[in-house]
């Protein structure tokens, strides 16, 4: 498979920014969309736009079929046992909030403990903080070492019978660390705790099998997986989801409604009140079909090559310090340049057509840990090339010269 060929599947990659060919290295924030996903979105609105799950008419059935078909595609993609374990949500953040609110309120009480890690995205911190505040429970944090790896001995000592849930990212969006979630899940289960995995940064970069991982919840967003924005997934084990109270009330999530008593619909509809993001779900299904065609063998090989090349390139530039040196690391590279503010570097790189991200990346505790105002982050996808890395190198050198 040729990357130059693959790049033609993504129309946006050929555009110019500030008159220069785009170098898109902000895939950790969101990924670009292949033409077939864009076509699927257009097709929906031009061919069969209709509300799902209720219409007797042809278009409604067609839309329902496509939407439910996408659910099955997603189920197979992450190896879930049942398609009703796949709950559509607006994204990772919403999925976490759903669990913290529905499962959390029913299962976490005063003096219970919720465990997160020192390298969580704000969206995997704040919902748990809100839950703990409401319930008088404690939020405990698994520390990390200077390389940006979780200290597993500390994790073990933090785990106790009070631990109700461990909520942790699979891959850190700032440090690129791949966390040992198999081990974390097994250790938490030993103590009777559930585990939620924030897969926002992993889902597009490695094959996921929720059954062999034995994750209780696995959440991710569609837009980081080459799908549309505004759609994401909550995977949960059937038995746990069945026990959970509904999250939001409304249409589609009910079995029967009277003013005295409402009974709730079965999974997955119990958690999908109101008209969902139909086109988002269908687009996400199409994005997964596309990834299946590319295949993770290719994705992993390509991204590992990019990661190594970018790491070597950055290490060769004087003053560059890579933040996050975990042994197990994805193609997300944060760095600082001694004496230069990340925002200044980012502004110059932008002028050169290079899209990177600067700032705290919604992980302020990590910035506090390293005592830095922010980082410059390059995050890669399989459509990036060694030429992109060469342009990043040249851009950094230009920025350094200009800013000195």
């Amino acid at each position: 498979m040729e990357v130059t060929q693959i790049r033609t599947d993504f129309p946006l990659l050929s555009r110019k920014v500030h008159g220069k060919p785009l170098v898109y290295l902000d895939n950790g924030a969101t990924t670009q969309k292949p033409q077939i996903v864009i076509d699927a979105i257009t097709d929906y609105y031009t061919e069969y736009n209709s509300n799902i799950h209720r219409g007797v008419h042809h278009l409604s059935q067609l839309a329902t079929e496509k939407y439910e078909g996408a659910r099955k595609t997603i189920q197979q993609f992450i190896g879930a046992q049942f398609s009703h374990e796949i709950i559509f949500s607006p994204g990772t953040t919403s999925s976490i909030n759903l669990v913290a609110s529905s499962w959390g309120r029913a299962n976490v009480s005063a003096d219970d403990e919720v465990l997160i890690s020192a390298m969580e995205h704000h969206s995997n911190i704040v919902p748990w903080q809100m839950l703990c505040e409401e319930k008088g429970a404690k939020l405990k944090v698994i520390p990390m070492n200077d390389n940006g790896e979780l200290i597993m001995e500390q994790f073990e000592s933090l785990l106790s019978s009070k631990t109700k849930i461990v909520a942790i990212n699979h891959i850190s969006n700032t440090l690129g660390t791949i966390n040992p979630i198999e081990e974390i899940i097994a250790m938490a289960h030993d103590k009777g705790s559930l585990v939620l995995i924030d897969g926002a940064q992993s889902i597009a970069h490695m094959p996921i099998d929720v059954v062999s991982l034995n994750a209780d919840f696995y959440v991710f967003s569609g837009h980081k997986l080459f799908g549309p924005t505004g759609v994401g997934i909550l995977y949960g084990k059937e038995a746990i989801l069945n026990e959970m109270p509904p999250y939001q009330g409304g249409g589609d999530m009910i079995k029967s409604v009277s003013f005295e008593k409402t009974t709730y619909n079965e999974l997955p509809h119990k958690f999908e009140a109101g008209t969902p993001n139909i086109v988002g779900g269908i687009g996400l299904g199409k994005a997964i079909e596309y990834i299946n065609e590319i295949g993770f063998d290719f994705i992993i090989e390509q991204e590992s090559q990019l990661k190594n090349a970018a790491t070597n390139m950055l290490e060769s530039i004087e003053g560059v310090k890579i933040i996050g040196q975990a042994k197990q690391k994805a193609s997300v590279i944060s760095f600082t340049i001694n004496g230069f503010h990340p925002l200044d570097v980012g502004t110059i790189l932008d002028q050169l057509g290079i899209s990177i991200r600067t700032g705290h990346h919604c992980t302020q505790p990590i910035m506090d840990f390293y005592n830095i105002p922010g980082t410059i982050r390059a995050s890669f996808a399989f459509y990036n090339t060694l030429e992109d890395i060469e342009k990043l190198r040249a851009g950094i050198l230009t920025a350094k010269t200009m800013l000195s």
Binding site: H18, D344, I348, Q351, M402
Partner: protein, 139 residues
């Protein structure tokens, strides 16, 4: 000079530049000449919220005119605020409040430095106007 006179002067200066590179090099130079805030005033209270870079801004009245000083940890941000200070410092509060600051558009800064929280251009202007508002009411 009036605020509009200074704005026109800046627009004329930027008209000489042919590329973004020259524009940014000039901004960086300006950043180095920013009227720096007293270190005793570089406090959390004077920090402007909503910027990716940290910006400290101080204002005082001297002979009836507003005088701004500032600092930032990012050099391009310092350049931007240096331009704002050149336009708005040593003016009376009412004029600062009424300033339209069209020069930002005319020198192509909005196009390159969109008014998002990443550079905090909007927050800076808002804070300068807040100072003007406060001083015009305490007189």
């Amino acid at each position: 000079m009036t605020i509009e006179d200074i704005e026109r002067e800046i627009v004329d200066e930027f008209d000489l530049f042919e590329s973004w590179l020259e524009k940014y090099e000039y901004l960086i130079e300006l950043g180095k000449d920013l009227p720096l805030i007293e270190s005793s005033e570089q406090t959390d209270e004077n920090l402007i919220a909503g910027c990716q870079s940290r910006v400290w801004l101080h204002a005082k009245l001297a002979e009836g005119l507003l005088v701004f000083t500032a600092n930032s940890d990012a050099i391009i941000t310092k350049g931007i605020i240096s331009l704002l200070i050149r336009v708005l410092s040593n003016q009376n509060a009412a004029d600062v409040l009424g300033a339209e600051l069209k020069f930002i558009n005319e020198i192509g800064l909005t196009e390159h430095l969109s008014p998002t929280r990443s550079n905090g251009l909007v927050s800076m202007v808002k804070q300068m106007k807040n100072y003007a508002y406060t001083f015009s009411n305490t007189k």
